[in-house]
Amino acid sequence: MDFGTEKTALDAKIVTTIGNPNTGKSTLFNRLTGLRQQVSNFPGVTVEYAKGHLALEEFDVQLIDVPGTYSLTAQSPDEIVAVDVLQGAVPETPLPDAVIIVIDSTNLRRNLFLCTQVLEAGIPAVIALNMTDSLPSLGIEINYPILEEILGIPLIPVSASTGDGITNLEAALVNTLRMPTPNRDLAICPDIDKAIEQLLSLFANHQVSSIEMRRAFIDKNGLADKRLSSRLGEPYSQLRDKLRSRLGKGRSISAIEARDRYSWINAALKKVQSVQDPNKNKAVEILDRVLNHPLIGSLIFVLTMGAIFQAVFAWASPLIELINLGVAALSQVSSDYLGDGLISSFVSNGLISGVGSVIVFLPQILILFIFIIILEDTGYISRAAFLMDRVMRGIGLSGQAFIPMLSSFACAVPGIMGTRIMADRHDRLATILAAPFMTCSARLPVYSLLIGTFIPNTHIFGGFIYLQGLTLLFLYLLGIVGGGITALIVSLLFWKRKKSTFLLEMPPYRLPKLSNVAIKLYGRAVVFLKRAGTIIFSVAVLVWVLASFPMGNGTKTEMPPSISQSYLGQMSKAVHPLFAPLGWDWKVTAAVIASFPAREVVIAALATIYAVDLSSDGKATPLSEKIKNAVHENGTKIYTIPMVLGLLVFYALCLQCMATVAVIRKETETWRWPIISWLYMTSLGYGGAFLVYQVGTAMAVAT
């Protein structure tokens, strides 16, 4: 591949950071680039990466941070990208000029596994040996010069959290960029090396990189293997199988590689590392004991999750109110200033409320993100997965699905985005399809309007429980049960192909760094705004257009025209017969249709429909009064208890969220799953509402 045209300046260089998870890799990345970075997506795949700039002597270095991985055996989407970056196979991301391999010095053995795999890719490399400041307390001593000598590349002890050694690392990187030298052949798996050489020489004119051939040969049915099989065809597969069986004699090549590599590492470590009895840190030990105590630890876990859940709602609500007030005021000001007319209506009802409906989500999303980032940076997120694994297994998922599910109670979009860490694609798919069932914050305004207006606030069971609260609880449970059953269905469909995959490192607890939390928060907020914000905004504007056109031929004062003549009104009347069995009139239908792209729009839509409709009396009564008094053409009340309960069930089960649909599309990389999910949830919502309304009405008649 020729990337010469993309390098505009002579001294522009691409450097990538790679390393195990929990090595402080992103802290190091932030240390090197500061705020000169952005979170992007690798084209074509969902994996996010941070990209930053760094001026080093005569070089303009573009630093690419690939997701943490334990091995180049690519399994999760995050790991596949790491391999692709190392072979220059990612579109728009040229082959790196150098690699910074980040190693946790307190965990040298396992970290050297990936390190030596990366060295085999042949890209000039520098090792950043991180967390060397923790070595004395752990009783570990490492002989740096000998380790450097064995690996054959510069090895720089650093502490990403304090900044020690960073200038040395930069100097070593400059040296490597000035005089790139090929990595020494470590001869870790000589037999495998021979087989790969044979394969490479046979397909020399197919431009296969040696690292791609290596991974394809070693990782049977892995991504690289599948790619090469389809690219090189039968001659390749035949030779590969022959070499594999000759070399493996029944054992898998991957197991041979792992054993060879670890015996090489064991031999190397004997020369460079000595471990004494650690001088244990009393505070850390006590913390560990408390957090890991079967009873106290579980209690702390439940309290922590409860507190996060509570904070996401309680802390956000004053901010949300403030945003709503601000948007209403701004909307008022603009309509006062612009007067009546199409432009005024577009600015205040389309643009301003569109922007408002996006930023109103930000308080909850940002608070949720802060907590999740803190959970990640402290290492507690692994503890959560460990504690919840047994529970989540009940619905065919693993403990790693727990945090995405919890996030989905605020919003399914970050929840679904959070499934990326899951290596098993069927686990991941089940979690993605279950997430939209969780009662997200966009459902709450609908619930509170309908419950507050129609469910009597009576006490039941001796006054301890409110009927309104019970209804809300029921709706939460309905979402959890719906999601659980969905996950179970997906797991059962794929159960034959599923393997038990819960192999999770439990990192030591670490204090999160404020600047790291802030940089991560900023990155994720931008991604959320890009992915969900643009859709929510477009939908709000689209709903305005559908409700405002075609324009009446009346005078200016009749602007905007009657809802019933608008496109929205016409559409609703046309499809209304479909929804009549749910007890809805065309106005409810219109509001529900308007909220299909974003469910929270239903409140604004109802307000518009009842306030704007010329057949209403036009008095400024609150929305709850208006819907209470709404009647069918025959004079019977529309919002009966069975109809309201049905409508609630509809909102609980239906996938009325374009942003979620778009995120499912992005994360599953196919339209199949978002379409299936949408059809499935919409049918469930319709069926549920139908059942509740019909049975409820029949019961009401019977009594």
Binding site: R110, A255, R390, S500, F502, L503, E505, M506
Partner: protein, 75 residues
């Protein structure tokens, strides 16, 4: 004496001596450093007894009992 990782109790230590079968899970375990000859220590169990958390080559790893059953340990 040989046993499996799944049958060990909290606080017990041992040395990995092999695997019950060779499959994809075992490949994963090998890559995470659970090779023959490695010393392991059971750190704790989740409240329901599964998954388990163990110490291997200087770090903590949690896994399900189903996977731990594959690992033969000499204690």
């Amino acid at each position: 004496m040989n046993t499996t990782l799944a049958k060990m109790s909290v606080g017990q230590t041992g040395e990995i001596s092999g695997f019950q079968e060779s499959n994809h899970s075992v490949e994963n375990l090998l890559q995470m450093g659970l090779t023959e000859g490695s010393e392991i220590e059971i750190l704790r169990l989740a409240p329901s007894g599964d998954p388990i958390e163990l110490r291997v080559s200087g770090y903590s790893l949690s896994m399900r009992k189903a996977d731990a059953e594959l690992v033969i340990v000499t204690i």
